[in-house]
């Protein structure tokens, strides 16, 4: 060893890692010495541990050599050396070979060692065992478990727990001892003044024993029930972790069988006032995550109360935990935690930013139209004291609130404008505010004017080009339709004078849109003058845009009023493409071979959205976001503790979920259909419905169906999955017969395409096509699956040669063609005004006898009508028995508007529905209203 490394070695405080190879050599030398120098060895092991704990690794051969050298130290009787030896063995066993060699030395210590090192020996033992040798340690573990010494008992229990994946049967053999260990209160023995510390007995071995016991019996529901009964009574469980574990056990039982809630009710209630906060918390978490219908409102309320009291605890962790649970509840049922609002408000200024974020987002969710004003005032007071990323979270929450309470736009707008003008904050922050204002402009028409004016003010001194460009675009889009377009023109033109070329060119485009304002000829003239002036700009892009715009305006003028020129479309586009599918089509085009470039790119196959449609899609996405943005993270976590809450979330998002996917899916279907010759003559698809299941998902043959509407045809597409493992299906077709037979039937079958063979676990599509008239045709279609089964040779997975197979048929659910298939959800700014102006009126009343939640009915109605919901009416508040659902959509055939108001009342007898529909199209109106369920 050189003096240099030696010096380094001594200077521990320098923080420099000791050299790996030096330590390796020193260890091998010192451990093989005789007699062993215990002090030096412990120091060396300490260095070795340091290396390992900082992420250094040894190659396998060296690790093995070290492992053996370390195990030589077993001959030294010193406990204090031995303890670190065990630690080293634990660490090295993961990276070394032949670790089984140390088993016998360790076992000797487990039997005869002192109480000090016995636990360490036991815990090391489990690392060197494997499947084949675990059984030999059974007796040692068993005697460890029953030991009176808590550390030994815990060590044995935890070690057994680690062994479960490889040696469950061995551990099972002492499950009786484990069970006794749960109720055994083991105190730490008095240490004869050897120690300077005064241990308290935590009885933590109860926790370990309980945990092990659950794992051993987790398949046996009755045994678990018994465990709960046995350990929840009296004072058996002293350890708080063990009590938390018991609550979790009850939670897992309830997750499997929610009916048990009534049985566990008193227990759940009792835990809420447990002396340990951790138990209260776990219990409150459990109660609030249970499905609604099983939990009585009283228990839920007391759980919320417990959480409320936890909010006031000085310890940050407790507050954090409680506010996190409340935040989660606020996503689903904000009205239930309104009583916590005072506490939550006091947490807004909490020193822990996470706590305050949770508190604010929860508050914004519980906000009602009454307290929004005061809430916003509170936020205004402190928003300047916090950092940017936190501000963004708040702005986002405010933004969702703006969509939820459009009538409160004044307060929200004021708030947004204020924070925007304060000047502080980076790009991200400003951008999120501008986004929020954009939402207001788009979805809250009343606020449009004020919001736009404020945005105009803002661009006067905005330092971010990206934001400027976006605002200019918005002004160009919305400005011309406002009362005083000239105001916006002035602001935009200011940009042309003052800004850089990027902003200038955006401003030119925005300006040109004002030239289309019909009612103010002077404005058009002045715009022309402005544009002419700009066409002398220093930047070529700006010049080009100005020149083109002038050209367009010229051509519009020359065409006159009667004949709208194509230039108008170019200036003010009426539709946008579906960007996702446009992108995929384009990249397909680009990646194809050279010759495909000879043909120009065909954009007609990409779905286009008009302004209203795009708004409808946006709104829907945003509404979903509000509810899916649960900040608990961890997808794995959601599936465990909060699985039920998740499920409920799932049904809420139900009607509109996977909207994105559906768009992509229908594009895919369209492509598939386009490739089938029989359907080419039908023209373009007008509408595609969702993929609905027609069988149970557990059935032998799983069938789902999709309806494609063409102008004069309907194509039903069935996806058939063969779930059998040893049978193939040949000649699979679906027989589709309309419910009304004979000449009255509006549909006549024109083609059927069958699947030749469906092998196990394959999915194929079959098609049935009908001809129909151009009007709205509704019909119930009864379906039967026809096929020939052929058994498969397990070795070749081909049918046996001689096997003829036998024909079979299989009844599947009907696939009705409803009025909803002719409707696409659409957006309208002012629902009630629009509702009143529609000419045709229809009313219908339904009674549902089943006892199902209102939410389920709402979801069903939304799916059946395929309309867009308004004013957040797709969410039923959980404690009310009445609900009003507002729906709006447009016919895919002729664009006729449909507006529906569905009022429902739930009583003990069932649910009564009154549907009021108005539409431009009388038949569509009556069809929709009469087929709503």
């Amino acid at each position: 060893m050189s003096t240099h490394t030696y010096k380094k070695f001594e200077e521990a405080e320098s923080g420099v890692l000791p050299d790996k190879m030096t330590i390796y050599q020193d260890c091998l030398n010192a451990f093989n010495e005789s007699p062993v120098n215990s002090k030096r060895c412990r120091l060396l092991i300490s260095r070795l541990l340091q290396l390992l704990a900082q992420g250094e690794t040894f190659p396998k051969t060296e690790a093995t050599a070290l492992f053996f050298a370390v195990s030589k130290l077993f001959q030294h009787p010193n406990d204090s050396l031995r303890q670190v030896v065990y630690l080293a063995i634990k660490e090295l066993s993961a990276v070394s070979d032949d670790i089984l060699m140390a088993t016998s030395s360790i076992m000797k210590d487990v039997q005869n060692g002192s109480d000090m090192i016995k636990p360490n020996a036991i815990r090391s033992l489990t690392r060197v065992l494997d499947e084949s040798t675990a059984f030999s340690a059974e007796r040692l573990f068993k005697s460890g478990v029953v030991s009176k010494h808590p550390s030994i008992s815990s060590a044995a229990l935890v070690s057994s727990y680690h062994l479960l994946p490889v040696a469950e049967s061995t551990v099972k053999r002492y499950s009786n001892e484990t069970q006794e260990a749960v109720s055994d209160l083991k105190t730490f023995p008095y240490q004869d003044g050897l120690s300077e510390h005064y241990p308290n007995s935590t009885y933590i071995s109860q926790y370990h024993a309980l945990g092990l016991l659950f794992m051993l019996k987790h398949h046996d529901k009755i045994a678990l029930m018994k465990l709960v009964q046995q350990f929840s009574s009296g004072n058996t469980l002293k350890n708080q972790l063990a009590q938390v574990q018991l609550v979790k056990l009850v939670g897992s039982l309830l997750a499997k069988d929610p009916q048990l809630v009534s049985q566990f009710g008193p227990l759940l209630l009792g835990w809420l006032s447990n002396k340990y906060e951790s138990v209260q918390l776990e219990d409150a978490k459990l109660i609030t995550s249970l499905p609604d219908r099983y939990v009585s409102p009283e228990i839920f309320a007391s759980a919320v109360q417990t959480l409320q009291s936890l909010l006031a605890v000085p310890r940050v962790t407790t507050r954090f935990a409680a506010v996190r649970v409340l935040n989660k509840i606020s996503m689903i049922a904000p009205e239930k935690i309104v009583i916590c609002n005072p506490e939550l408000e006091s947490l807004i200024n909490d020193s822990n930013r996470n706590v305050s974020t949770y508190a604010i987002t929860a508050l914004l969710k519980t906000g009602t139209s009454n307290n929004i004003a005061s809430l916003i005032k509170t936020i205004t007071n402190f928003i300047h004291e916090i950092s940017d990323d936190f501000k963004i979270i708040i702005i986002d929450a405010v933004r969702t609130m703006a969509l939820k309470f459009p009538e409160e736009w004044k307060h929200i707008l004021n708030f947004l404008v204020n924070v925007l003008k304060q000047g502080e904050g980076g790009f991200q922050f400003k951008n999120s505010i501008v986004e929020a204002l954009f939402d207001l402009v788009q979805f809250v028409p009343q606020s449009k004017e004020v919001a736009l004016e404020n945005l105009c003010d803002f661009i006067e001194d905005c330092e971010y080009n990206e934001i400027l460009v976006r605002i200019l675009h918005l002004l160009g889009k919305e400005g011309p339709s406002m009362k005083t377009p000239s105001l916006y023109v002035r602001h935009i033109y200011n940009r042309v004078v003052l800004e850089n070329s990027i902003v200038r060119s955006a401003a030119v485009v925005a300006l040109s849109k004002f030239a289309l304002v019909k009612n103010d000829p002077t404005l058009v003239e002045s715009i022309e003058i402005l544009l002419r002036r700009i066409s002398n700009d220093a930047d070529d892009e700006v010049r080009d845009r100005a020149t083109i715009a002038l050209e367009f305006i010229e051509s519009i003028k020359s065409n006159g009023e009667s004949d709208p020129s194509p230039a108008e479309d170019l200036i003010q586009s009426k539709y946008t493409y579906d960007l996702a599918s446009l992108e995929s089509k384009l990249s397909q085009y680009m990646s194809a071979k050279q010759e495909s470039f000879k043909k120009p790119f065909d954009a007609s196959s990409i779905s286009r959205y008009t302004e209203d449609e795009r708004k409808a899609i946006d709104l829907k996405k945003k509404q979903e976001q509000m509810f899916s943005k649960v900040p608990t993270g961890k997808s794995k976590g959601k599936s465990t503790v909060s699985s039920d809450a998740e499920k409920r979330n799932g049904t809420y998002a139900g009607p509109g979920s996977d909207e994105m996917d559906q768009d992509l899916q229908s594009a895919k279907f369209a492509e598939e259909l386009g490739s089938i010759d029989d359907f080419k003559s039908f023209g373009a698809i007008v509408n595609t419905s969702k993929d609905v299941p027609l069988t149970e998902t557990e059935a032998e043959f799983v069938v789902t169906g999709v309806k494609h509407l063409f102008k004069n045809h309907v194509v039903l597409q069935f996806h058939i999955t063969n779930t059998l493992t040893d049978v193939a299906l040949d000649n699979v077709s679906v027989g589709c017969s309309p419910a009304t037979s004979g000449d009255d039937c509006p549909l006549s079958e024109v083609a059927t395409i069958a699947a030749d063979r469906i092998k196990p676990s394959e999915t194929f599509a079959t098609y049935v096509a009908f001809e129909k008239s151009e009007e709205v045709v509704t019909e119930d279609l009864l379906n039967t699956l026809y096929f020939t089964t052929r058994e498969l040779d397990p070795s070749t997975h081909e049918p046996f040669d001689g096997d003829e197979g036998f024909q079979d048929e299989y009844e599947i659910d009907s696939l009705p063609l409803t009025a909803g298939d002719y409707i696409k959800g659409s957006f309208v700014g002012n629902f009630s005004a629009c509702f009143d102006e529609l000419p045709n009126h229809e009313v219908s009343v339904y009674n549902i006898r089943e006892n199902i939640p209102l939410q389920e009915v709402v979801d069903k109605v939304v799916v059946n009508t395929s309309c867009l919901t308004f004013d957040n009416t797709q969410f039923v508040s959980t404690d009310s028995n009445t609900h009003t659902l507002k729906l709006y959509g447009k016919s895919v055939l002729n664009g006729a508007r449909v507006a529906l108001v569905v009022r429902m009342i739930k009583s003990s007898k069932g649910i009564a529905l009154k549907v009021e529909g108005r539409s431009d199209d009388p038949t569509l109106c009556s069809d929709v209203v009469n087929e709503i369920i």
Partner: protein
């Protein structure tokens, strides 16, 4: 299915004042296959150090004690030139993790008689490693009473007297000090 596993803790980290490693341990069950492990994304040293530097950046001088970080619950405490971190699963009971974290923190306080700082930890690295090992065994909380943990940690052998009986004033004082703080905490909790 509710998570009944005893594996509550994902990692325990001790970083210095610049976010460099002093002691790091990522836990996983000794007999489970690596790919089944719940935190497979933190298996290589590179991923770990990256995680640590992000965590350190997020928590340094923030004094928040607890936060949700990259789908894990993190409890932490910053000292003058070291910080302690305990990383647990996001659905674990926060107060249970708090118990484990307090156990680590307080037992280190007891073991390192003159307080938690970088020099002290490096000088008594064996005792620190032992104390942590006595608190958390591959992700399972082994013990939560700091005094029990501290008394289970052996001191290094001195050459002359193999068994070291220390009844010095310092030891007694620290025990008294600790008892006093615990008592105060209990009383506060009761109120």
């Amino acid at each position: 299915m509710v998570d009944l596993s005893l594996y509550a803790i994902e990692a325990l980290l001790v970083l210095d004042g610049e976010g460099k490693r002093i002691y790091t341990k990522y836990y996983r069950s000794p007999h489970e296959k690596p790919e089944q492990s719940s935190q497979q994304h933190k298996t290589s040293v590179k991923q770990q150090t990256e995680f640590e530097s992000r965590l350190f950046k997020k928590t340094h001088k923030q004094n928040a004690e607890i936060l949700l970080f990259e789908d894990s619950l993190v409890l932490y405490k910053e000292y003058v030139d070291v910080s302690l971190y305990l990383v647990g699963s996001a659905d674990e009971n926060e107060l249970v993790l708090q118990q484990a974290f307090t156990a680590v923190k307080d037992s280190l306080d007891l073991v390192l008689a003159t307080g938690i700082d970088k020099k002290n930890i490096l000088e008594h690295y064996d005792m620190v490693a032992l104390a942590i090992d006595e608190t958390i065994d591959d992700g399972i909380i082994l013990e939560t009473d700091p005094a029990t943990i501290a008394s289970r940690v052996t001191k290094p052998p001195s050459k002359d007297a193999p068994i070291n009986i220390e009844l010095s004033e310092k030891g007694l004082l620290s025990a008294w000090g600790f008892a006093k703080s615990r008592l105060a905490e209990r009383l506060q909790q009761g109120l």
